[in-house]
Structure formats: C-alpha cells, structure tokens
C-alpha cells in the first residue's frame, strides 16, 4: 500500500504539507519538542521523503502521538506548512490501519474513545461532570470533589439548567438532538472509527492476556490510561 498516497487523499494533508526547508522554526517553539523526545521538523521531512517503510514505521511509533495540537507551528512556518495538521492525518491513518496499537501512546486512543467518545454520543458533550470521576482526576483538586458531590446545587446556583430540558448550561440534550448526532456519526465514518479503535484495541488486549469488558473499569483501560510503560503488553 502506498501510504503517502493514502495520506495525500486527506485535504488537510495537502493543506499542511507544502515543502519543508528544514529551518527548525517549528521545533523551536513546539511544546512537545521541549518535553518529549520529539522533533516535528524530522517528522515532516520523514513524511516528505515518501519512503513507505519509514512512514509505516512512523505510524506504528510513539512519535506521531506527542503533538499537543497547539498549532504554534502553523503561525511561524516560513513555507506555510502545518506539522500539527500532518500529525492529525498520520494519526487518522494509523487508527484506520490498526497500527496505533503497536505503540504505547497510540494504544491510549482506546481510553479516549471510551471516555470522550462515549460522552459525545451519550450526553452531547465532550466532557460531562457526572463522568469526571474525582478518582480518575486527582489533579482536579479538592474543589472538584466538592463540586462533584454537590453538583446539582452548585450548577443550578450558577444559572445552569443542569440536566433539565430546555436551554442553558449543562442542559439535558434532547433525545432527538442526540439521535441526529448519532446519525451524523453513522453517516460520516465517526461510528466506524470508534468501532475500529475498539476492535483493534480489544484484539491487542486479548493477545496480551487482558480481559477487557469494554468499560472504564477494566484492566486494559486502566493499563493504557494510567501507565507510562506497557510492559504487560506484547
């Protein structure tokens, strides 16, 4: 399979990759380059080389998962490239082909699909207070524990229409609207992507001896969500 050709089918790839002159301006201000062993310039020139083997290797590595999507690169690139957008397309193809389960950071997509993906289709929000379990989010601090415990009171006090029909913050999004959202996901490949992420992930989980039950409580979820090394995964 010609991976470069496949990448090029995405308009964002064409928008994001003009030609790199290796100046390093992107890497200079990339937060991920500062804190991870990562170099967006090298990522772009690797892709630009059109070397199928290199690209396949990239898609299976951690390298494409470090980017934080801040787009600081887009502001500065003197050739009009957008490494951040190229990364989005690489991540897409990596998931479509199942390569993401070969890298530690790629495997984390399972946890995102199970949290954010689930929230979108169940609640119509990417993030919902009832799903921000203080146990999974100690960094939210004691103030969040208080908010979580008293959420109905606090949100209502602040003018939200918490979990009720009608307009307002944190309203209960209607069944009809959620159905439309689901229909959009079905029609445009959104459902398909979530399914693929789950299928490839569960395959990897079983291969490595995990017993996932598809919830955020299972051992595979906890492995990819919490752990910095996946010594338990083949």
């Amino acid at each position: 399979m010609d991976l470069f050709k496949r990448l090029n089918e995405d308009v964002r790839f064409r928008e994001g990759l003009k030609a790199c002159m290796n100046c390093g301006i992107c890497t200079a201000i990339c937060p991920a380059a500062e804190f991870y062993d990562y170099d967006p310039r090298v990522l772009v020139t690797t892709v630009e080389s059109m070397d199928n083997e290199e690209i396949e290797s990239l898609l299976k590595s951690d390298a494409i998962w470090y980017c934080g999507q801040c787009m600081s690169c887009k502001t500065r690139c003197p050739r009009g490239n957008v490494p951040g957008m190229i990364v989005s397309v690489l991540r897409k193809v990596s998931q479509e082909l199942g390569y993401f389960t070969e890298s530690r950071m790629g495997r984390q997509q399972y946890a995102i699909a199970k949290t954010v993906g689930d929230n979108i289709l169940s609640y119509g929000y990417c993030v919902h207070p009832s799903k921000i379990n203080p146990g999974l989010h100690p960094e939210q601090g004691p103030v969040w524990e208080w908010i979580f415990k008293n959420r109905e009171d606090i949100y209502t006090r602040l003018g939200a229409n918490f979990d009720k029909p009608g307009a307002g913050a944190l309203r209960k999004i209607s069944r009809e609207a959620l159905d439309e959202l689901k229909a959009i996901f079905d029609e445009t490949g959104g459902t398909e992507l979530l399914k693929k992420i789950e299928e490839f992930s569960l395959k990897k989980a079983h291969e490595s001896g995990f017993e996932p039950n598809g919830t955020t409580e299972d051992d595979y979820f906890r492995e990819v969500y919490k752990k910095n090394d996946h010594s338990g995964i083949k």
């Binding site: 100046c23 200079a28 201000i29 003197p78 050739r79």
Partner: protein, 340 residues
Amino acid sequence: MKSVVIIGGGVAGIETASALSDFGHNVVLVEKTDSIGGKVLKWDHLFPDLKSASELENYLDIKCREGNFAIQKNTTIAQASQSNGKWMLRTDNNRVIETDAIVVATGYEVFDASRKEEYGYNIYDNVITSVDLEERLKSGKTITTRAGYLPEKIGIIHCVGSRDEKSGNHYCSKVCCITGVKQSIELHKLLPEAEIYCFYMDLRMYGQYYEELYREAQEMHKIQFIRGRLSEVSENIDKRLLIKAEDTLSGRPLKMSVDLLVLLVGMEPGKGTKSMAGICGLETGKDGFLKTSDMHFGNNKTGKKGIFLAGSCIGPMSINDTISNARSAALEVHNYLQTK
C-alpha cells in the same frame, strides 16, 4: 546627440550616468533626496574585503565631478508619457523633461523588521538590524546595550524578511549572509570577549572570497554558527533577550539569552521602484522587483522601448554586482540610442 534620463542617484544611477556620458550622450541624473550616493553613504565597511565605504564614496564622488552629466536633486518623477518616439517626463514641480531613453535605477528598501513582530524590533530595547549596527559602527561609538553595558553575548539572525512566506517575501536577499559574517568579525574585533552566535538556515557564500571570510570568522574570530532559524524573541526582566531556535544539526530545541540581537534584514523593492513601475507601466516579477525582458540575455531591458533598468530595482544585489549591472545597462542604452 541623444539624451538619457537616469532616475535614482545611488551606485547604479551614478555608474550608468558616468558610463553613458563617457559614450558622449546627454545625461541627466534625477535624485529624490538631497544627497547623491544612496544607501552606501551609511555603510562603514564593505564585504568581503572590509574596505572602508569611504573609498566607494570617493569613487562615486569622482564619477560625479568628472562625469559630464547633470544632477538634479530633490526631484521626483510624477508622470511619464511617449510622444513621437521620445519620452516625456514630468517632475513633481511640473517641469517636463524630454528624453530619448530612460534608465530606472531606483534601488531597494530594507525590510522593515517591525513587520516580523515575533522578533521584537521596535518593541524590545536590544533588538537592532544590520543597518542599525552598520550606522553604529560607522559612528565609531562603543557598541553597548540600550542600558549602556558591553554585550557579552550577541546573536545575529539570518533571513529576516527573506525566504519567508509570512513576511510576504519568498526570495533570498543574497547579501545578508555575507553581511552577517562581516559584522560578526567586526563585532569580535571591537568586543573580543563577547560570544557571537550566527543563526542561519543556509550560508549563502556565493561571491568571490565570501567562503574564505566565513572560514576566517570561524577560525580567527571563533564565531559560532548554529543551523537553526530564529522562531521567537522575548524579553527577560533584565532586558536580555530570550531567543528560541532549533539546533537542527543536533535535532534539539535551543534557548539562549543574549544581550544584543542583530537582525539581518533583506531587501525589498524600493518605494521609488514601486512607483516607477506604475508611472512607466513596467512589469514586476513575482518577487515585486522590476522585471527584465530576459534574466540571462536581456537583464537591463524592459518590455517598454527606451526604458532600461539598472541595479537593485531588478533584484537584491551586492555593490560590485550593481556596478557591473550598471555598466551593462549603459551599453544596452548606448546600443539602443545608436539605432534611433
């Protein structure tokens, strides 16, 4: 006797005027400011041999005194039209000059570094351009930071306003790299204790003795060359500048605090060049400079009969290339005038 008007009294204009008047033509040189010589009057030393710019000033001075051509200062051309195979030029004070040929020698403008906001020019105290530095060197005053301290660390930044989609200039300005190398050596001679870093993408040492000067900068003056383009400048609380680049040869992001930052600004078509394009109906190239009829074989001709180009209104050029180009323009004009 045929007549020629040369528009622009810089290096190119003077050289062309001198050569054409030597050929025996009636030449008028028109200059919009009060002085003749153009931007080189602000230069201290020239690359690559580091000769004093006053040598060039003297050369131009002699050309003007001994040349048999008229000089009209404080004059701009407002309109150009053709009539019976001649060109009629109306000046801004409504005089009309009739002439057989025109040479546009209106030159370049330096890139306004404040357009590159993230470099902090005109924002932070200690960011200057190569032009500012040259002026300071010429003045003979000590090179210090704004607060009056001797800089211990100096950064020199290549490609400011060139090779940059974001600045609107895709082209390379050719002469900035060698300017940076020259100025790094000059700074080291004045401040032998200072650490000097040049941040570049490519070192365009295209001219004769340029490569040797680069080597001299490294060997004799210990100038450090880092292959990485400057991304951003910030100011620390002590007014030192925090600069961010990548050292691409080792593949690592790099941050450094310097006392003084010199931006090597590129060349853009001058204001006069832009207005002449409109007034004479001349084509400009994709880079905004005036287009010649062929970059190999017709590098002083335009699409308009009787109008010729000389010097950096055509594109970024060094002084020696400008002088050669100006002489070539004179030959083209002379040949044209023979056929009239």
